[in-house]
Subunit: 284 residues, 2 copies
């Protein structure tokens, strides 16, 4: 008998994956943690029944989270990652030679531990990089209490269920803003607009109420079901997104960053939205 | 007990939809035909166990198939659609006032009949438009025998299984080329590159061998599982894709075409590929 994992994110639809081999199954203080192998997607992780990452398509997400803001900014030295337990976002940030300090605040130590053990091809040693400062703790609490400043803050969260609800709230975003340097950028995981329109709309509404430039850009991650995924963008520097493609290309060349998904053109085109997504952003 | 439809397109992964109500279930001379209602996707059609369309996301596909080539071309008068039994592609083509003749060749009369009956919100009366000339017949045979000429040919096919295999073959594409007017464009459904890389690679290789400009552009259709979907692009006029955005915007305004997904910016950005897709197109 074959054994399948069916995602429990939505009613009336689901994606399912045949489990070739279970790598880990357990419960942390926060959530159910499942790691398994699938013939098409490679190694996968699900938390509370929702797919979080796979070794075959994680670059479609992690590269876009990091390189779009980093190349628009041009000189990111201090980055903060909230969440991101698999280490993929951290890995992409550390590819940038400009980075001197990468703080990561992940609530679930078991996720980091199991990902280091079973998904080392995602973190690629990022947790051992001397620039990395990993805190196992609550990102919401950290943002409320810290006095550290950052050039880019990445909210690499799960969906707004379980331990992550507050990562989509107004006071959390306000605290992020306080911790951004001049030219600083806040980037957030904002769900799949076709199936989660409210998530994008609400976050954009918060961003607009206290940032000069608020929008979202797009990627498509096969294991995040439902077409395009939106990544939230918020900054007070309205010039950043007007950076010409030629400049982005020069920065990309100079950075020597290697990618599998990202290209400099995507820095521009990922902000060109299908009409129904543009309307969600504009309506907020 | 709830009743679910599980797609049979791939091994080891699947998407599934709860069937709220079955609208039609039967077998034509060519394939199994299933129409049903789902709470999230609305009305859906599956052929031989593979999702073909849904009323909630069909515009992400049909609008991009038509408006990208039409607005790059600028004056499409005669269009040929191979396949497209639900009528959505035909509907989008007929939105253009420039169209004087729209030929559609669909192999499966039962699909057209059942879609007219159960999915009228997709065809929106397109089959009754005086400019429409519907032929129930084999598109491969039609292309080999016809002497009619077209400005744009759209291959709106299912995946290359069942009755559609020849719609992805070299001799079919060659016959399409023969039937294109000057400035003519061939557009094809080319699958989901993440899960069907060979489909894109092979079609692009054929296009390159006998068209001056061969590429693919992208959309993301939630019910076509796996992230981005590729639409093949082939023409002998290498200037078409260099049309400036301002011109596309002017044409779009003048056309009075209304859309839910398409925007003029997508005419440009949909050709900006993630690296792994660019490599598939370039390698072919």
């Amino acid at each position: 008998m074959s054994n399948w994992f069916s995602e429990s994110l939505y009613n009336s639809i689901s994606q399912k994956f045949e489990i070739k081999k279970t790598l880990f199954e357990g419960r942390s203080d926060f959530q159910d943690v499942l790691l398994f192998e699938n013939d098409r997607f490679g190694k996968m992780m699900a938390l509370d029944g929702i797919v979080q990452t796979s070794t075959s398509d994680e670059h479609c997400y992690h590269e876009m989270l990091i390189h779009v803001p980093f190349f628009f900014h041009g000189n990111v030295q201090r980055v903060l990652i909230i969440g991101g337990g698999d280490g993929g976002t951290l890995r992409e940030a550390l590819k940038h030679k400009t980075i001197t300090y990468a703080k990561m605040v992940e609530i679930d130590g078991l996720v980091v531990e199991q990902c280091k053990k079973h998904l080392p091809e995602i973190s690629c040693g990022a947790f051992d990089d001397p620039r990395t400062d990993l805190l196992i703790g609550d990102g919401v609490k950290y943002m409320a209490e810290t006095s550290d400043m950052y050039d880019v803050i990445i909210v690499d969260s799960s969906d707004p269920v379980g331990p992550n609800t507050d990562l989509f709230g107004e006071s959390f975003y306000k605290n992020c803003k306080k911790r951004l340097n001049q030219n600083g950028i806040l980037i957030t995981q904002n769900g799949v607009p076709f199936l989660q329109p409210t998530e994008l709309k609400e976050s954009c509404a918060f961003f607009k109420s206290f940032f000069q430039d608020a929008s979202a850009y797009l990627t498509a991650v096969p294991a995040y079901y439902g077409g395009y995924m939106a990544l939230g963008w918020a900054t007070d520097n309205t010039a950043l997104r007007k950076t010409p493609l030629e400049t982005i290309k020069e920065r990309f060349e100079a950075s020597e960053v290697s990618t599998r998904f990202y290209t400099p053109e995507l820095n521009i085109s990922s902000f060109m939205h299908p009409k129904f997504i543009k309307e969600l952003i504009d309506a907020s």
